[in-house]
Symmetry: C2
Subunit: 189 residues, 2 copies
């Protein structure tokens, strides 16, 4: 009757990410996904556990992609240059994959071990970037929190069109990070 389309988890995940980037995470419904994949909705259940399950997978996939983007953005860089590069890469990732980034923040249960693990990898990456800044372990943890807050906050506000004014955004990001780093240098001096 109907030739098999050859669906699998990866195809669904990638189509979901594309759909999220195009129209926002909210609009990613199983009905819409099935339409895009030329399949009836219930067929999706042969490959995923349901919508919450898909969202969790999307969150993990997004965190992995984000980590790779940060990694790629910092090859061959160290010190403050590396920190700036992470900031640029982070914001760049959110601009390129807005829906996928949104998914990383909307896991059904953010405390899920698998999601936490993917999140922790980014954290330890950032900690390594801040190695050699001469911070105590505790100060370094505070600094990583600050850094994540800054870049996530910036990217997230930009995503929601929170920056209305005609004022260069890249420059805002750059200035924020440089100003913070200057203050950080003072505290270790």
């Amino acid at each position: 009757m109907s030739p098999r389309i050859g669906l699998n988890q990866i195809m669904i995940l990638e189509e979901a990410a594309r759909a999220a980037d195009e129209a926002g995470l909210e609009s990613v419904t199983l009905a819409e996904l099935a339409k895009r994949l030329q399949v009836k909705t219930p067929s999706l259940y042969n490959h995923i556990g349901g919508l919450p399950d898909l969202r969790k997978s999307l969150a993990i996939h997004g965190l992995e992609q984000l980590r790779i983007a940060l990694l790629n953005g910092t090859v061959g860089k160290a010190g403050e240059e590396a920190v700036l590069a992470v900031g640029r890469s982070y914001v760049g990732f959110v601009r390129q994959r807005p829906g996928l980034y949104e998914a990383t923040l909307s896991a059904p249960d953010p405390l899920d071990p698998d999601v936490s693990a993917a999140s922790d990898e980014i954290l330890t990456f950032m900690l390594r970037i801040m190695d050699g800044f001469g911070l105590t372990e505790e100060k370094a943890l505070h600094a990583v929190r600050a850094f994540r807050s800054m870049v996530h906050g910036f990217a997230s506000l930009e995503l929601k069109n929170g920056f209305n004014m005609a004022l260069n955004r890249d420059q805002s990001l750059e200035l924020m990070l440089i100003t913070y780093l200057r203050g950080l240098a003072l505290s270790t001096a």
Copy 2:
């Protein structure tokens, strides 16, 4: 038959905000709201235009409440002390009214004039707080963007349980803001 309950827009809005705080914005459905208000779902349409309309009202209401909270948190303070107070009040508000804060970020159309206006009031408030820092107008705008990014990012990550480690959160916030302010002082010196 059924005695009138005396519903109005405000009652619906406040119940929606409460529900959002209790169970997250996602769980605020008209069906759930109607149940909480002891009314049938279609009755809500006598007072609101529908779910998107309610969400927009919630966003504006949340922005107003946030502005009031910031205002109250800074009476009698000036300079860096005022900036720190805004940061504390901002994060405090998000902790107290997580769902309502979520709503401020999830308006159906963030570029809607009414929502933008409410958002702009917070912006100009922050600009006034930074008056007297000796910044050029452009630098001040960049600084406000940075400040919003920091506090929103911090609050938002905290909300999503993004801070897993056992490390004092209030201290992280305090350190972030102080470190940034130190860097800012350098650039004007």
